[in-house]
Amino acid sequence: MGNLENPLQLLPVRFGLSHRQRGWALFFLFAAFFIFGTIRAQLSNLAGGDHRYLFFFIPLIIAVCILSGWRFVLVTGLACLIYSELLSPPVWPPRHMTLPHWITVVVFVLTVFSIAIGGTLMQRTERAAILAADQAMDREKRLNAIISTIRDGIIIIDKNAIIQSFSEAAEGLFGYSAQEVIGKSLTVLMPEPMRSQHHNYMQHYFDTGEKRVIGKIRFVPGLRKDGTQFPIELTVGVLNSNGETYFIGFVRDLTEAEANRKRMQDMQAELIHISRLSMLGEMGSALAHELNQPLSAIANYMKGSARLLEAPEPDLSKIRDALTSAGDQALRAGDIIRHLREFVGKGEAALKPENLHQLIEDTGALALVGLSDNGVHLTYKLSPKTKTVMADKVQIQQVLLNLIRNAYESMRDSQKRDLVVSTNLQKSGEIVISVADTGPGLDPEIVNRLFQPFVSTKTESMGVGLSICRTIVEAHGGTIWFETAPEGGAIFKFTLRKPPEGIDDDQP
């Protein structure tokens, strides 16, 4: 920047010339000078000393201006003037010069000056542009260096979802190299159903400006090059550059990022806690103790009565009293159980209006964690009339998680592996959420006890999933049941309520 005053030093920069090449350039300039001069001399020999031949040097001076700075233009101009005037007789001494000749010389000198000034100005602007470009290049390099060290994958797409930039971390996450995906649609990185819905999402954003994804943290499935899916945490920002809209996505792998795995575990632990699994255990022993008392009493009364009846003349009134007491104790046991059910069913469920679609999609992505079997196609059919629901979010996520996991597990040996989560608004005003699979359907052995705890056909499983689902759904004032799909798979359905009229129906 300090060299602005010495344009020659910028020559190699501007034209990419080395020192050696600059020497050649100067050599050709001088050669041109002599060639032009000689031609001019020959012409004046032929046609007499016409002063207008002076303008023959203008192209040369322009060339000097382009290659060099104002000083050289002035020097070359002076040289041309001297050369031309000395070589064209009879120009010397000047008193022989005519008025037109003087005018020609003055115009020539002015022309040389304007070329020098104009050229210098042009060069200044050009240099500024070059410097700016250099800086931009620098900044980009720095930015790239930063991007390549960030652990999150960074993907930039344009408004048509065409990938513009794909960071090193993204390469690691998705198994594609940047060259492979740049210029392709972002949807190659998405499994169905997102793949086919993505266009609509973007269109929706452009049409309404409503930000469903932008600026929020979302859990979505990603699709690797090898076809496997993995859960990711996605944050999207908008970039406006040169009037073009770009989207920048930060992608965090939830299966690999240790911190996130922990967060996930915490979340699941919380889910399990909320689902009252641990409470069942704690209450189990309290319950056993409480029930023991009436049961023991009943046993004593009955056994005692049986003993009394063995006597030749049994004391019937005593036996009747004992049986009455036994009956009372049986009722007491029933009371204890009823209390317990009220306690469990009372539901501290904090019902709030929740965005059902987002809840379902987040849970769908979450359900992928730890499931290796990925031939399963998860699709959503969410009715726009079921946007908002009254729910305790974490609990309903637990229900969905259980149902989706069960569906995944049921299709382990199936040819067709389609999992559809859909929502519908019923005429009664209730929202029905259903989870349908293409598995073998329910084992007839257990259908009657399906929603009871500890009923399972899986060796490694507790069999409490569906009973927890029922507890939660009933605490929400809903019901849960199952149907058999025409092709034989199982469909689990449960109902939830809409928020009261006028509340938050258009929650984002």
């Binding site: 022993s285 056993a288 103790h289 023991n292 008392q293 009436p294 049961l295 023991s296 009493a297 009943i298 046993a299 004593n300 009364y301 056994k303 005692g304 009565s305 003993r307 009394l308 005593k318 004992a322 007491s325 036994a326 009372d328 104790q329 007491r332």
Partner: protein, 203 residues
């Protein structure tokens, strides 16, 4: 070896239904009983030289069954003391046996079991656990596998199955199986038998 009919059985339980029904059961078997609503009520009833047998619940407010047991032993009471426990109180019961209880019963119990327990408690002096039985038990102990012995030790020390399982690195169900093996090998009829004999031989 006969139980005189006048010998009273003292029932101590905070649960009315439990007291009444047990009293009825004993009555149906021709035994006289008296009920007390708490350990304190029993101690306050002013019986210095008790005859018969004492049956007490473990879980009671104020003074629990174990505290009552200690108090009675301190007072030099000769009457045998049977402890009743609810579910999950087995470690407590083991402690009770070590502290000198004649027997322990898990609620709910069969009439035969409680009557036999009373019978046995009242006919045998606390320290004269039949020697032949003891010798037999010692002989049987030798036939136990190391794992079975570990489980037995755990049980006798009043550890719940889960704890034993964790300490031995096996599943609670396996502990259950080992426990059953130990019982059948040693000829113990009940857990109570097993613990009592183990205590008797100083395990």
């Amino acid at each position: 070896m006969m139980t005189s009919p006048e010998q009273t059985i003292h029932i101590i339980d905070d649960d009315k239904a439990m007291r009444d029904s047990l009293s009825f059961l004993l009555h149906s078997a021709g035994k006289a009983s008296r009920s007390y609503t708490s350990a304190k009520a029993f101690l306050d009833s002013g019986i210095d030289d008790l005859d018969g047998c004492i049956i007490t619940d473990v879980r009671m407010p104020d003074m629990n069954g174990l505290e009552l047991l200690a108090e009675l032993k301190a007072r030099g009471t000769r009457a045998p003391i049977i402890i009743m426990t609810g579910h999950g109180d087995i470690p407590l019961a083991v402690e009770a046996l070590k502290a000198g209880a004649a027997d322990f019963l898990e609620k709910p119990f069969d009439d035969q079991i409680i009557l036999q327990a009373i019978q046995k408690a009242m006919t045998s002096a606390p320290d004269s656990e039949s020697d032949t039985l003891k010798d037999g038990f010692v002989a049987e102990l030798a036939t136990l596998s190391p794992r079975e012995k570990d489980v037995l030790l755990g049980v006798v020390n009043g550890k719940p199955n889960k704890v034993i399982a964790r300490e031995l690195g096996i599943s609670p169900r396996t502990v259950e199986v080992y426990r059953a093996h130990v019982m059948s090998k040693t000829g113990a009829h009940s857990l109570s038998d097993l613990v009592r004999m183990s205590i008797a031989v100083g395990l």
